[in-house]
């Protein structure tokens, strides 16, 4: 079988390519499923882990300056396993097994460090996304308009009914500060 390269997988994840994304599933889903089934999980767990692990890779490498040098499949599996162990120890489904024993299985994996960074990045982006929804409508619109290339503050002012361009900048900074504050509050609670 001729599989696509790791680089192609990453590109598909970052930029979108349904055929290649499908290949990622075709290639790695059986392996992950079989591992999860042998480790107290079911089909749904495997499905969620696959998705979460891919999102973690997306959050870590897409739109960032990081160079991806590892093995895509290896990284995917280690992230998924690491996430699963976190869930298992939370649910205490394996009380008989000590934590060190559980995580010890991953210690030798060359992708472990990259996997942990990716997981942290995903938690961060998930929190940012969640608290973004807690901002006021005006803040969300304003920040979105700024990033969508409509950077002319006069136009944004007119569109949102804000009195002046200067007030638009003030509002932008207020929204960013509020968003940051919410992030710090929620991110601490999550981890």
């Amino acid at each position: 079988m001729n599989w696509q390269s790791d680089e192609t997988y990453l590109k598909a994840l970052c930029g979108g390519n349904s055929g290649v994304l499908r290949e990622i599933y075709r290639r790695f889903a059986p392996q992950l499923r079989s591992w999860v089934l042998r480790n107290n999980g079911d089909e749904d767990d495997a499905k969620d882990l696959m998705q979460d692990a891919l999102m973690a890779i997306y959050d870590r490498y897409c739109g960032k300056d990081f160079q991806f040098t590892g093995n895509f499949g290896g990284l995917l599996m280690v992230i998924a396993k690491r996430m699963w162990f976190d869930q298992l120890s939370k649910k205490k489904r394996r009380q008989s097994i000590r934590k060190e024993e559980l995580y010890g299985q991953l210690e030798e994996e060359p992708e472990l460090e990259a996997a942990e960074s990716a997981m942290l990045e995903k938690q961060r982006m998930d929190t940012l996304a969640r608290v973004f929804d807690l901002l006021s409508d005006q803040c969300r619109q304003l920040l979105t308009l700024f990033t969508e290339g409509k950077k002319d503050p006069d136009k944004i002012a007119a569109q949102l009914g804000i009195p002046s361009a200067n007030a638009v900048y003030q509002a932008k900074h207020r929204c960013l500060a509020r968003w940051k504050k919410l992030f710090y509050q929620h991110h601490k609670n999550d981890s």
Partner: protein, 241 residues
């Protein structure tokens, strides 16, 4: 608020050279400022990419539903295996349909083997088996073959693993030996083993380019087999090409 404003100015390229140099100098010494900068960078990244991120999530969700559709627990008992095998037959069909548009040879299109999911057996063999499983599911049949062979020698009644052994041989080009295994299991009293073996028997002929015998085996697959639908589909394509 003041820090937020300065960082935003920095990130949007509105600082003049002196201001920028001073800010970068400050970053080196001020850890919490650096941390806030990293966060604001991520916030910008979120704003630029959240539509793509949401779209990706939905797309993965759909793929997940497709590739993980079966409901199965741990594969332990024969009854469990039976359900597993039925699910496999259904999955093979889905996978094959997904393959159709992409693959060159008919054999490659149809030889989409279900993953080898071995039972948690005695701990002495568990490691070896998990290695075989991984190798098999990776398409590394050369590595999986000796472990499967050894396992089958020690567990001559485990017919399911025998079929997988046959698949490994078939993939490695040892089709006559593979066929011997499939043929011997084609009369199994366990329907899921029988159906799985017969389907692979057909594939082994397809691999050798022996379309006549392949069609013959395919036609023998009864309507109550989990492979009936896909067999009919392959028959049609053989007749059409």
């Amino acid at each position: 608020m003041e820090a937020t404003k300065r960082i935003d100015k920095y990130l949007s390229g509105q600082m003049d050279a002196d201001e920028k140099a001073a800010f970068e100098q400050e970053l080196k010494a001020n850890e919490s400022l650096a941390e806030e900068l990293a966060l604001q960078k991520d916030m910008n990244r979120f704003l630029q990419g959240h539509r793509r991120r949401d779209a990706l999530k939905s797309e993965l969700d759909a793929l997940g539903a497709e590739f993980f559709s079966q409901k199965s627990g741990k594969v332990v008992s024969m009854a469990g295996r039976r359900r597993w095998m039925l699910a496999i037959a259904a999955t093979v069909l889905v996978l094959v349909v997904a393959w159709l548009a992409l693959r060159p040879s008919l054999y490659e299109q149809y030889a989409v083997h279900p993953p080898l999911a071995l039972v948690e057996k005695s701990s002495a063999t568990a490691n070896d088996l998990s290695m075989a499983e991984q190798a098999f599911n990776h398409g590394d049949y050369e590595k999986a073959l000796p472990i499967l062979q050894e396992y089958v020698a020690g567990n001559p009644t485990d017919d399911l693993v025998k079929v997988y052994l046959g698949i490994a041989k078939m993939e490695l080009g040892e089709t006559p030996e593979a066929r011997e295994i499939f043929t011997s299991l084609a009369t199994s009293t366990a329907p899921e083993i029988r159906d799985f073996a017969v389907w692979n028997l057909a594939l082994s002929y397809l691999k050798d380019g022996d379309e006549a015998n392949c069609s013959k085996v395919l036609r023998s697959i009864p309507a109550d087999s989990g492979y009936y639908q896909i067999a009919q589909q392959l028959l049609e394509r053989l007749n059409g090409e």
